[in-house]
């Protein structure tokens, strides 16, 4: 019982480099049960690498990860036991192309949790229902829109009943009209008490859902705090500039379920490239 009071996830001084390129220079933070942490920062700052290090899709060079107080490390076999407890939602969905939406959600429960097919099917239907896709169960990824694919991938993760879910820019590969439906699913998840770590540029989501925002640059956390502080009274000049830039680019207070205009979006992309 003591353990459950501690952080669900503790990240301690994670470092990672690829050759001469130091991507992560000692990142530490805690995530408590029910937290929604949003990680923001310029591209190439190591946000995605950080998420991948957390579930050892990339192996950190040094540093420690604790899941419910237990250190995540060890052999390949061991690591899959941790991974099943950490959901991961990818920028480009990565649904299994040869399986229907239902099949995608069933695979984990059957092949990892050794659930029977019937049980898994039942569970998969429930999870698809939760993301509003019960009627798409028999369609293949190629037959789904990007937003629907991302929602299936969230359902696939939920079916594993994870302790927390990592979201790696879950809306960045989506057409602007499809972003809202994914954000809405994520917002409901957060409201239902799911523990989440989200890398995103969606400032509306960050401001309204996050209980803490982490601002990263050059593989380090520069500043972190509640949205109100990061948005309106950041301590660092750098944070202020980034927040200013990004809210200029991303405009709206809160995009969901509104639709950003395509024109805005193109402009945004161009400017983003400049910024990066």
């Amino acid at each position: 019982m003591e353990e459950s009071r501690g952080p669900v996830l503790r990240v301690e001084d994670i470092r990672k480099s690829y050759g001469d390129n130091n991507v992560l220079n000692g990142v530490s933070f805690d995530v408590k049960l029910g937290d929604t942490k949003v990680i923001i920062g310029p591209s190439g700052t190591g946000k995605s690498t950080l998420l991948r290090c957390i579930n050892h899709l990339d192996i950190p060079d040094s540093g420690k990860i604790f899941l419910n107080g237990e250190e995540v490390h060890g052999s390949k076999k061991n690591i899959s036991k941790y991974r099943r407890q950490i959901g991961f939602v990818f920028q480009d969905f990565n649904l299994f192309d040869h399986l229907t939406a239902l099949g995608n959600v069933m695979l984990g429960p059957i092949r990892v949790l050794n659930m029977s097919k019937e049980e898994a099917r039942e569970l998969a239907r429930t999870e698809l229902d939760r993301v509003g896709l019960q009627d798409k169960a028999d369609l293949y990824p190629a037959q789904l829109s990007g937003g629907q694919q991302q929602r299936v991938s969230i359902a696939r993760t939920l079916a594993m009943n994870p302790l927390l879910i990592l979201f790696d820019e879950p809306t960045s590969a989506l057409d602007p009209e499809l972003i809202g439906e994914v954000l809405e699913v994520m917002r409901n998840l957060a409201l239902s008490g799911m523990t989440m770590v989200v890398v995103t540029h969606e400032m509306g989501f960050a401001r309204s859902v996050a209980n803490e925002i982490i601002f990263m640059e050059n593989g380090k956390i520069l500043e972190q705090g509640p949205p109100n502080k990061i948005f309106y009274q950041p301590e660092l000049e750098r944070t202020k500039r980034f927040m200013h830039k990004i809210s200029e680019l991303y405009g709206r207070e809160d995009r969901e379920p509104q639709v950003a205009e395509n024109q805005d979006n193109e402009r945004r992309d161009n400017e983003l490239e400049d910024d990066v």
Partner: protein, 224 residues
């Protein structure tokens, strides 16, 4: 040219026996050949350094040596080591090992065409690497490799005739014996060619029906 009775009593039974033997050789070789192909391909892509290197050596060796030489080694060479293989077994072993090397390259190509994200997604669900390969990568890769795999099987249909060189009387061998005895080469070998054509058509048919059966949306299929 050839009387019907002669065909019915001499040619047909002999060629029929040969055809059956050819079919036996093919059927026995196909599954081990494809299995070897899968193992070697997976070993090369996902194996550790040692396994990957060994798999490469396998491919280099079996692609680099003539099948006929391999058959001679298996049948005429191994007895000097005290290993006596039945000629059919020697032929099947040769076809499986050699064809397996070629199959592995088709399958490896297909595996490597699967986006890395599929593996990452499988691992992130908590699948072990082995299970990810079995349940996520191979189901997709084998579908993509199917045209290549059947290609090799059509070769197998034809190079099964090499078994004659190690005393297995299969279709070509049976034909050669009759043709030589009765001096009717053109007739017999045309007939034999037709039989091979039929066998290959069967392979193509099976390939087609497997492709249709395992097709999923997102794979371009062409036609109709």
């Amino acid at each position: 040219m050839v009387e019907f009775d002669f065909f019915r009593e001499i040619i047909f039974p002999k060629l029929m026996e040969g055809t059956l033997m050819t079919i036996v050789l093919i059927v026995l070789s196909v599954i081990p050949q494809v299995l070897i192909g899968i193992l070697i391909a997976v070993g090369r892509v996902y194996g550790n350094k040692v396994i990957s290197r060994l798999s490469l050596v396998y491919v280099v060796f079996f692609r680099g040596t003539p099948l006929l030489v391999l058959l001679f080694i298996l049948y005429y060479g191994l007895p000097t080591l005290g290993i006596y293989l039945h000629p059919i077994l020697a032929a099947v072993a040769g076809f499986a090992m050699c064809g397996g090397a070629y199959q592995s390259e088709y399958i490896r190509g297909a595996i490597q065409s699967i986006k890395a994200g599929q593996m990452r997604a499988a691992l992130s669900l908590g699948l072990t690497r082995t299970r990810a390969v079995l349940f996520v990568i191979l189901p997709q890769a084998l579908r993509r490799a199917l045209p290549g795999i059947s290609n090799e099987i059509t070769y197998l249909v034809k190079y099964s005739s090499l078994a004659f060189m190690i005393t297995v009387i299969e279709l070509t061998g049976a034909g050669k014996i009759i043709a030589g005895r009765y001096f009717i080469y053109t007739y017999i070998f045309t007939l034999i060619a037709a039989v091979y054509l039929v066998l290959v058509s069967v392979v193509t048919r099976v390939q087609k029906s497997l492709e249709v059966r395992y097709r999923y949306p997102g794979i371009e299929s062409g036609g109709r």
